[in-house]
Amino acid sequence: MKGKYRRTATFSRELHLGPGGSASSPAAAPQRLPFSRVTVEDLTFFRKTLPGRAITDPDLVQSSNEDWLKSVRGSSEVLLRPQTTQEVSQILSYCQSRNLAVNPQGGNTGLVGGSVPVYDEIILSTSLMNNILSFDKISGILTCQAGCVLENLSLYLEERDYIMPLDLGAKGSCQIGGNVATNAGGLRLLRYGSLRGTVLGLEVVLADGQVLDCLSTLRKDNTGYDLKQLFIGSEGTLGVITAVSILCPRKPKSVNVVFLGCETFDQLLKSFQLCKGMLGEILSAFEFLDSECMRLLNTHLKLANPISDCPFYIVIETSGSDSDHDSQKLHNFLEEAMTSLLVTDGTVATEESKIKTLWSMRERVTEALTHDGFTYKYDISLPVERIYQLVTDMRQHLGERARSVVGYGHVGDGNLHLNITSSAKDPALLASIEPFVYEWTARFQGSISAEHGLGLKKRNYIYYSKSRPTVAIMGKMKTLLDPKGILNPYKTLPDDLK
């Protein structure tokens, strides 16, 4: 049986040249670290620990080796699907003793190549850990396993008059454990805050198999260092999250969605100020997209523009407890926005079906981009008045070399999604984009990854947003919690730390 498993080191190296194609690009994978390789004995152990759930059939493992964008692909030969925390503990304990690398994987919807193996790391999927453990109707605290799909949690809560505090386009596939591991932001952050505030507790399995039970359901607990904050946003490199307890808000009785058109970005920002002043406490989302995004939605997804063509579009959502009050506030805001000519056109939706349609204009831009060609994605935080300047500067900088350059995102949070497409992977184009985009961002003290994380693709750009001493301490934390470095290697922390 021994010769059956291919040695795949050089093969994976070629697959893993990253978006640039050149082995010297900072986004490209480093050399394979000297982890052990999976042996027949290892497989026997996995099969005994997870009967029927240790998968080695190449056809089944293949989809877990590739990310959603189809931009990076690993060559793992083993996909493990535990159902309990205990099983995760046994697997990690074993892997650490054997020096086997492990890639924790949730919904595999990440956009920075962090969710799939680089080489032959064992894929540890949380997909079968999808039980809801408890829900307290009075406090709104939900406790569940890490593999619960976000949309399923939303449906469960909606029946009980609550909602999840976060919402993102990937909701149909992403899992809560992955959301927490990447500190996902999303469309509701403006109103309910980040996972750093809403996550009350975590259960994490460490690299040596130790189960760290920080699964508290208390709103307030100042007893010692708050360890769970280390794991939130750690991208699977410090421990594997196996359970989450999260504080959920009440389902709003009245939801309105407004789709507006503006002539200039300056008017868009002024609308935002007006909006905060007049809608303030009921505002739950403020998103934007540009006319290029609209063109892609029209062309590739046949979604019609709900209003007339404008250079910029805003999606505003209000959520409140009284539909009469909210309608009145919204009416006043819209009247003011129109008479002061901040907004040139718009439409309002109160009905579920229309709300879904208006939201899809913003949520499906990512999908439309995949039909436009090979996409280079940048997720940048900037001072809000600078957000669109990066898009216009990039357009000017690239000229005819790119197919489309679009800007959209959570303008209310100061977060721009800058996307550039080309007909095929283009190393010359990439060389024009990077490091231009990162240098531009650093110049205005922005973040080179607002919410997507670093993963594989952006790990070496961390110094554009964090100082060397800061990153050095991150390295020390990593060594403390994962001395052999088996958890999600090649990700998040820069290569020069090793």
Binding site: A304, P306, D345, G346, T347, V348, K356
Partner: protein
């Protein structure tokens, strides 16, 4: 020739909402559930507004029969371009038993009162799927009917209607005044734009009682039971 069009708009549970049957099986839960204009009625309003924009009709009047909240549905029609609304207030027991027969009597009475040339309705409502109101209205008025319309062309005092039927498409020519019912492919309803939403707040909605129109609302139908099918277990391949 008044050039007036009556459009019926019905307030129904929004199609994106998950329906729940009441525990006593007497009907569907409607309290606190999102309602909106019946999608086929939206298509009817859109067609009427288009005719007005082409200057083929002079006035579009939106009509709804139901409780206080039906006024929201009329406002949506006004925001899409209807000129004024008529709310026939029906509530309580009368509303629970309100069906195509009662509504068609009301529409017929209003058509005479308002001297309408054309009535456009949705082909059916998504809550009861009756598909009867348009046909009954035409019969009560002894007007021709162009039902399941996927294309409407006004030609002098006649109307050419392309109808969606099982065998394909049927084209008929009918005299006016007439009743039309809208099918899915007749048009794509517009989004109500902000300027129109603002204008709609100032448009008039008249309140009328069924009795004032000489219409008796008693129904000869009684819902015996509302059953929901048993959810089957997922199969295994």
């Amino acid at each position: 020739m008044s050039g007036r069009v009556l459009v019926g708009v019905k307030r129904v549970i929004d199609y994106a909402v998950k329906i729940r049957v009441k525990p006593d099986n007497t009907g569907v839960v409607t309290d606190g559930v999102k309602h909106s204009m019946n999608p086929f009625c939206e298509i009817a309003v859109e067609e009427a507004v288009k005719l007005k924009e082409k200057k083929l009709v002079k006035e579009v009047v939106a009509v709804s029969c139901g409780p206080q909240q039906s006024q929201e549905t009329i406002r949506t029609a006004l925001a899409m371009g209807a000129d004024r609304g008529i709310h026939v207030e029906v509530s309580g027991k009368d509303y629970e038993t309100l069906g195509p027969l009662q509504v068609s009597k009301i529409m017929a009475a209003l058509a005479k009162k308002e001297d309408a040339q054309l009535i456009i309705l949705g082909k059916q409502a998504i809550d009861d799927d009756c598909n009867q109101t348009g046909q009954m209205t035409a019969a009560l008025l002894d007007w021709p009917q162009g039902t399941f319309a996927s294309e409407v062309t006004l030609d002098g005092d006649k109307i050419k209607v392309v109808r969606e039927i099982d065998g394909g498409l049927e084209t008929i020519k009918i005299n006016t005044p007439a009743v039309l019912t809208a099918d899915l492919r007749l048009n794509t309803p517009r989004y109500a734009t902000l300027p129109n939403i603002m204008k709609a707040k100032k448009k008039k909605i008249a309140n009328v009682k069924a009795a004032d129109l000489g219409v008796n609302l008693t129904s000869r139908l009684e819902t015996v039971e509302d059953l929901v099918g048993k959810l089957k277990e997922a199969g295994k391949v």
